[in-house]
């Protein structure tokens, strides 16, 4: 009896999730192709933010150079498409592997520091990656970037990703897969240990956890998620250029995580949707949209430093207990 009552909520949640996925998928057919395209942008940055969140929200490591792994993934997938194979799976595997390898190399360097120095070294590593993307013309195309990257072949009959609606399904599935995987990770003993490290790394070490290794693994996994986002990005846009690797993207992703709510699973999605929506829609109405974006940064830090999800959650709990 007890088991059934325990299972019920998770069954309901599962059913809800499936229904929500189906509804979101159906949306692709209903919306105009431009709106669907914006949703794809939102999903891509959601995945990137989700990956950063593992570092920032779970482990408490404030990375300011996450666009680097995103860019490495996108460039790798693009290069595979241009020179090797149009298979989605080859491109994605190579991209994620390269992102994680770069994440591992940078992680080795960055984890020698902590706190504010960690912030600065990740920023500097990000800028170095930008400089490489800009200067290594024979590989990356320099400032012009790589272009002419077609839509990939998934080898799945019935799914045509050449259309925006079709690609939306791919992006949605990719984001859902990332979310499910991240959900597994944060609920696993590994994820629990990351939270422990965030709250009290000295105690974690005294208990017997290899804190450095956890941080390193989190760094590498997080880079892998960023690479996955890069894959979805580059196949959708058909090009990649150094701008996608720069500090502005890194800062925006960090903002997305914080706006939504660092350390929550929905937060990065909410944050990504909000920021992408802001920069594309508000800029259609006013030239001063950068001011609006800047004010968003300021206001979030002032009024919701733990993010909207946490803010709403707290308010909800406060009302219930009142």
């Amino acid at each position: 009896m007890r088991e059934i009552s325990q299972m019920k909520p998770s069954l309901v949640a599962g059913a809800l999730a499936v229904a929500a996925f189906a509804a979101a998928a159906a949306l692709g057919g209903l919306l105009s192709s431009y709106s669907t395209g914006l949703l794809i942008d939102c999903l891509i940055f959601s995945v990137l933010a989700l990956g950063l969140n593992l570092l920032l929200g779970q482990t408490g490591l404030p990375s300011l150079g996450h666009a680097a792994y995103f860019g490495v993934g996108a460039y790798t997938a693009g290069l595979v498409m241009l020179h090797v194979s149009d298979s989605f799976w080859w491109g994605a595997a190579a991209a994620i592997a390269t992102s994680m390898a770069v994440g591992a190399a940078y992680g080795l360097l960055a984890l020698r520091t902590s706190g504010v120095y960690f912030l600065i070294i990740t920023l500097a590593l990000g800028q170095i990656t930008f400089a490489i993307a800009f200067s290594w013309r024979s590989l990356t195309g320099g400032d012009d970037g790589l272009r002419g990257i077609g839509r990939p072949d998934l080898g799945l009959p019935g799914l045509n990703v050449d259309t925006t609606a079709g690609y939306y399904l791919l992006a949605l599935t990719a984001a859902a897969a990332a979310l499910l995987l991240m959900r597994l990770i944060v609920r696993s003993p590994f994820g629990e240990a990351l939270r422990g490290i965030h709250q009290n790394s000295d105690r974690m070490a005294a208990l017997g956890y290899n804190v450095w290794l956890y941080k390193f693994l989190a760094f590498v996994i997080s880079a892998g998620f960023a690479g996955w986002a890069g894959v979805i990005f580059v196949y959708y846009k058909g090009f990649i250029s150094p701008e996608a690797v720069g500090i502005v993207v890194s800062a925006e992703v960090t903002l997305m995580v914080i706006v939504g709510g660092a350390g929550t699973l929905i937060g990065p999605f909410l944050g990504a949707f909000l920021v992408v929506f802001m920069s594309h829609v508000v800029s259609g109405y006013t030239d001063r949209w950068l001011t609006v974006l800047g004010l968003l940064y300021i206001c979030v830090m002032l009024f919701a430093p733990k993010g909207i999800v946490t803010l709403v959650g707290d308010a909800w709990r406060a009302r219930r207990s009142a």
């Binding site: 001011t291 974006l293 830090m301």
Partner: protein, 284 residues
């Protein structure tokens, strides 16, 4: 030989400009633990306010004074109204100050336009000095002298005055200063204002050397951060030595290895963080 003499002078002039910006950034960090990306906005605003004053009055010195004063006031308001509220939250400070940077650069674009501007320097500093067959701009010589003078002045203030003693104590332990009965918040405010004023003045001085234009804020703050990181966050001596190192590595690196010019700032920065995260003169 001539080549290296000129490059060293180039390096020195860039270093002194960087020092004016980085010294404030570093002391502010040491005292308040604030990571202030908007420090670059102080430079930008200083340049633009200086330009406006210069266009009205034609007086370069007045431009420096007014720009420094206005930017100091803006800085103090910023510190009181915004940055203090996120005290202790490093990432929060970075993102908030990034937001401030965005707002200020956008408003500056709106107000002063997107056209790159140059500030006219005083007539007697125009032209070049000639010695031993070498050419070197007078203005840069003046900037080098000015940089050393300011460095000396800051050093004297911090080492030899009462307020300097309080600042030094505050860098060590802000709580202790409070316990002795000093209004630490006032000290914070004044130091922040002074740092902003220096950056504002640097905007005028730098504007007359490099021009002032949208995007200058971000360029400058990244370089200043490299200086501060290499010298050690919170250390004035570190800011001075770091400025010299970055000034030289940037100039001489670009002169000798132009194809790696994009890496002359960030690679030394990462190397320093990996080898000695607290910088040359910082404390762990």
């Amino acid at each position: 030989m001539a080549f290296y003499t000129i490059q060293i002078l180039n390096g020195l002039s860039l270093a002194m400009l960087l020092f004016l910006i980085a010294s404030g950034l570093s002391v502010i960090f040491g005292l308040m633990r604030i990571i202030n990306l908007a420090h670059g906005s102080f430079y930008l605003l200083g340049g633009y306010f200086g330009l406006s004053v210069l266009n009205q009055t034609g007086n370069f010195w007045l431009a420096i004074l007014v720009a420094a004063a206005i930017v100091a006031a803006i800085g103090m308001v910023l510190q009181r109204v915004l940055l203090e509220r996120v005290h202790g939250n490093e990432l929060g400070q970075v993102l908030m100050s990034f937001g401030v940077l965005l707002v200020i650069s956008d408003l500056a674009l709106w107000f002063w336009g997107g056209l790159p501007q140059t500030l006219d320097r005083p007539d007697f500093l125009d032209g070049a000095l000639r010695f031993a067959g070498l050419f070197f701009p007078k203005y840069r010589v003046a900037l080098i002298v000015c940089g050393f003078a300011v460095a000396l002045a800051i050093w004297l203030i911090i080492e030899r005055t009462r307020i300097g003693a309080v600042i030094r104590a505050g860098v060590d332990d802000a709580e202790m200063v409070r316990a002795i009965g000093f209004d630490i918040k006032m000290v914070f405010l004044l130091v922040f204002g002074a740092g902003a004023a220096l950056a504002g003045a640097a905007g005028v001085l730098g504007g007359a050397m490099l021009g002032i234009y949208p995007g200058a804020d971000f360029e400058v703050v990244l370089q200043a951060f490299a200086v501060v990181v290499i010298g050690g966050l919170g250390s004035l001596r570190g800011a001075f030595v770091g400025s010299l190192l970055i000034g030289f590595s940037d100039t001489i690196g670009k002169a000798l290895l132009p194809e790696f010019a994009m890496f002359t700032i960030f690679v030394p920065m990462v190397a320093m963080l990996v080898i000695r995260p607290e910088g040359l003169f910082g404390r762990a």
